[in-house]
Symmetry: C2
Subunit: 224 residues, 2 copies
């Protein structure tokens, strides 16, 4: 794993051209955004133009893991080496400028380019599946019944290096034209956040099995 | 605009192959998911593999509008007729099964395939920009300073028909293997929702300009 302060090399694909001051190429920023997200959007060309699929994911050091059914067409294309893009976006707020033109959002986003490789090593596959479960809800993989060998065989896992990637971050209020500031129009921003409600137990949970702390305190243990 | 009960034709790209019972092809479901989302992810191949960009969007009848700077490479590719994919995903909850294998999420997602066209007609361009502003915060376009002709010229707007599209929806608790139900492992789901906090006024708002109701009551007027 590279040092968190490492800066990734800027490439033609990762260079932030619009509002370049919002671009970040350091692994610390990229990792933090990835770790706060529940899901990513993955795009691959399956032969008739790009396809986007939302997916869960896990991060181990500077690799992203994706998984799915062994027959999943998008994962199979990644396993064959197709060019891919992974995007993660956190929406932090709505920005109301005086002008329609300057309306915006506050967000933190990451985009990763590259290719992936199929993971066949059983130990790495188990680590990857645990990482994906724990990415969504930290600590869960230690409690859940682990995958059987048959379940692992039915699961396709791919690994994608976080080596060609960038982040883009916008924060704060509107940036209006000076001439618009005296207009009698309200400007400002509305913060948004994702919250978890109380967990809902499955009716078949045996008596005496308590709700685990990571489900009760989901809002506190996670930064979503 | 087609009748909301209209079912879109299923194509090779829109057919839901994994968990087909979660697939929906009716415009009412597709429109409702699009309208609840703040942003979409758009993918186009710019010549070196797929690129995903998160963007605001608007919907007018059965068209999606995207906009951005006139020099935006992804929008320019769409204006030239590149194949595209637009994805919208709402994350509604985390699903904790007894087995790691059956962990899942509750979500509502839409994917739209096709090509777009550049909007040059000034009236349509204004309607599109209003629709994008109002998509994020209903009613805002009537209060904001409208785009000047110069601002409109600096904005590239594209229109994408919602004609090749599908939705996928998962709700409820875990679906475990029968053999796992007696295990002493908690199973259930954790509902998630996006909430808005109190609006934060820009320091330059002139005295006497009130916070508009759609910003104060954002949580109530919107279904996010």
């Amino acid at each position: 794993m590279s040092d968190a302060s490492s800066e990734l090399e800027i490439t033609a694909r990762t260079q932030i051209r619009r509002k370049p001051d919002r671009g970040h190429y350091d692994l610390a920023t990229i990792r933090a955004i990835l770790d706060e997200a529940f899901l990513c959007h993955v795009s691959v060309d399956l032969g008739s133009g790009p396809v986007i699929i939302p997916m869960a994911f896990g991060r181990v050091d500077d690799d992203i893991y994706l998984h799915g059914a062994a027959g999943n067409a998008l994962l199979r294309a990644i396993a064959r080496g197709s060019d891919l893009c992974v995007a993660v976006t956190l929406t932090d707020g709505l920005v109301l400028a005086r002008s329609a033109f300057h309306h915006s959002m506050n967000y933190r986003s990451v985009v990763v380019f590259g290719t992936g490789v199929q993971v066949d090593d059983v130990d790495e596959k188990r680590r990857a599946v645990d990482a994906i479960v724990d990415h969504v809800i930290a600590g869960r993989s230690a409690d859940a019944r682990p995958p059987t060998d048959a379940e692992l065989r039915a699961t396709l896992v791919v690994r994608i290096a976080i080596s060609e990637a960038s982040a883009k971050v916008r924060t704060g209020g509107p940036i209006d034209d000076d001439d618009d500031l005296a207009l009698p129009i309200w400007g400002g921003h509305i913060p948004l956040r994702m919250v978890a409600d109380a967990p809902i137990a499955d009716p078949d949970v045996p008596p005496g099995v308590a709700v685990p702390p990571y489900a009760i305190d989901y809002r506190r243990v996670s930064s979503v």
